[in-house]
């Protein structure tokens, strides 16, 4: 694997490779001492130009469990503040010895830009409203452990599709693996181009629940009401929130997922988030193994076709 920038570049076979490699690292994570030396001597730089808890810590944990060294770059306290350009910053980090950059930025395309400048490998850890591929991979892994093959499974994605990089990556990954995706959102939170996506669209959550194998909830941000996209969070919750009554209508074995951070009481009711079929913390745990697999495939494994 060269870089991981988008799910489409990876394709169904690439997703499959990551899933199989993840099995290996999930086993490492179950050991009493979950650490191997597969990436000893490699340096992974975590470049988060935007806030993050789980993704940054998950990547850094993954790198350390593989024996790699981790450099943490913090935009707020860096020379970017003195006016250094992004390109010079990247070249500096590469000169210090970066083998891989894990990049999060509020603008779409920054990881791709860095990949074009640098000899180091680049992982997109979320760029603007574009993509968040490792989130999609960890969601696919979580789904596979529960449902097996995703072919023909009905996945309902609910929430702010328009502004969500998670939605874009996940829809690409789910459909690549053969799942049927249904989007549920108010019209103001759907992108204009949604008609070209390989998905079904509805504004009625209640009608979509009965045949769902998975309900995937996206975070609703307070600022969407400030932008007049939503009348109020309470109104959103009444129409599109997964409360206990709606959750009870799901068929047995149907899963509830959320990429975090959750707004309990808005897109998901507090008790629903803790229900036995809600696999939200499992998603986070699988995230470490998936990111170990991605880093290993980039830095540890030779290219089979080379």
């Amino acid at each position: 694997m060269n870089h991981l920038l988008t799910i489409d570049e990876l394709g169904a076979d690439g997703i499959d490779d990551v899933m199989r490699t993840t099995d290996t690292f999930a086993e490492v994570n179950r050991r009493p001492i979950p650490k191997v030396q597969a990436l000893r001597g490699k340096t992974v730089v975590s470049c988060f130009f935007e806030d993050s808890t789980r993704t940054r810590l998950s990547f850094e944990t993954a790198a350390r469990r593989l024996g790699a060294d981790v450099m943490t770059f913090s935009a707020a306290s860096s020379s970017l503040k003195k006016g250094e350009s992004l390109r010079d910053t990247v070249e500096t980090l590469e000169a210090i010895g970066a083998d891989a950059f894990v990049v999060r930025h509020r603008s779409a395309g920054v990881p791709t830009q860095i990949a074009s400048w640098s000899r180091a490998k680049v992982v997109n850890a979320g760029d603007g409203q574009h993509e968040h591929p490792t989130q999609a991979l960890l969601d696919c892994y979580t789904l596979r452990t529960h449902l097996g093959d995703l072919h023909g499974k009905q996945i309902v994605v609910v929430g702010d599709i328009k502004h969500s990089r998670v939605a874009r990556s996940n829809i690409a990954a789910f459909t690549a693996l053969g799942a049927k995706v249904k989007l549920v959102a108010p019209a103001t939170l759907l992108p204009a181009s949604v008609g070209e996506w390989p998905v079904e669209v509805t504004h009625n959550l209640d009608g979509a629940l009965d045949d769902a194998d998975v309900v995937y909830l996206l975070r609703i941000q307070q600022e969407r009401t400030d932008q007049a996209l939503l009348p109020s969070l309470r109104e959103y919750s009444a129409g599109f929130g997964l409360d206990a009554k709606r959750a009870a209508r799901l068929k047995p074995g149907a899963l509830i997922m959320h990429p975090g951070p959750m707004n309990r009481g808005v897109e998901i009711a507090a008790d629903v988030a803790d229900a036995p079929n809600a696999v939200i913390t499992e998603q986070v745990a699988n995230g470490v193994a998936v990111r170990m697999a991605v880093l290993f495939l980039m830095l540890g494994s030779g290219d089979l076709n080379a």
């Binding site: 490779d17 199989r20 490699t21 099995d23 290996t24 690292f25 999930a26 086993e27 490492v28 050991r31 001492i33 191997v36 030396q37 597969a38 593989l66 697999a293 290993f296 540890g300 494994s301 030779g302 290219d303 089979l304 076709n305 080379a306």
Partner: protein, 191 residues
């Protein structure tokens, strides 16, 4: 497990890449069966029974042999032995030199501290896989002793490792390839 291993091996051949072409069959299916029986007897004899013996296959070549040796041990001694698998891909020392892929995952039955671990692989060549396996095994406890069973020892060692149980010693050229299957052993090359 065996189906996985076979599927895994087939996947590791890149599309359009060279495929294995047999030049001569060096062990028949019967030869292989007899060698498995002899190795099983030697394991029992060396360890004075099967107390605390654990068989661990090196993925993916050892998976088929471990099942057959375990079945034979059960037939001879009337007791089953725990079996496991070890994937050494993430312990190898040649990242970047040649393709390494994580294969079927490791599955070690419990703590191996105090146990006699018999590592099982199809072909012993440079010894580097076994060296990696010894590293990997150390992450699961301190075995009382580790032994090595292989179907074919083809020479060309690059590290000081020797097998305890051997199906067949087979002199080879470096560029040849040995393929161990359920129905026998072939010598050939990639074409």
């Amino acid at each position: 497990m065996r189906e996985n291993a076979v599927a895994e091996r087939e996947r590791t051949v890149a599309p359009g890449a060279a495929v294995f072409v047999s030049r001569s069959q060096v062990m028949s299916g019967d030869d292989l069966r007899r060698a498995v029986t002899r190795i099983a007897h030697e394991i029992v004899e060396r360890n004075h029974g099967l107390t605390d013996v654990v068989l661990v296959a090196l993925q993916t070549g050892g998976a088929m042999l471990v099942e057959r040796i375990a079945a034979e041990l059960e037939r001879i001694e009337g007791v089953g032995v725990p079996t496991g698998t070890l994937d050494v891909a993430i312990y190898r020392d040649d990242f970047g030199l040649r393709p390494v892929i994580a294969e079927a995952p490791t599955n070690i039955p419990g703590d191996i501290t105090g146990k006699t671990v018999v590592l099982v692989d199809d072909v012993l060549f440079t010894g580097r896989t076994v060296r990696a396996a010894l590293n990997a095994l150390a992450d699961f406890g301190r075995a009382k002793c580790v032994q090595l069973a292989v179907m074919v020892d083809r020479g060309h060692r690059e590290v000081p490792i020797r097998p305890d149980f051997v199906g067949k010693n087979l002199p080879t050229r470096r560029d040849e390839l040995v393929d161990v299957r359920d129905d026998g052993v072939h010598l050939g090359e990639m074409k």
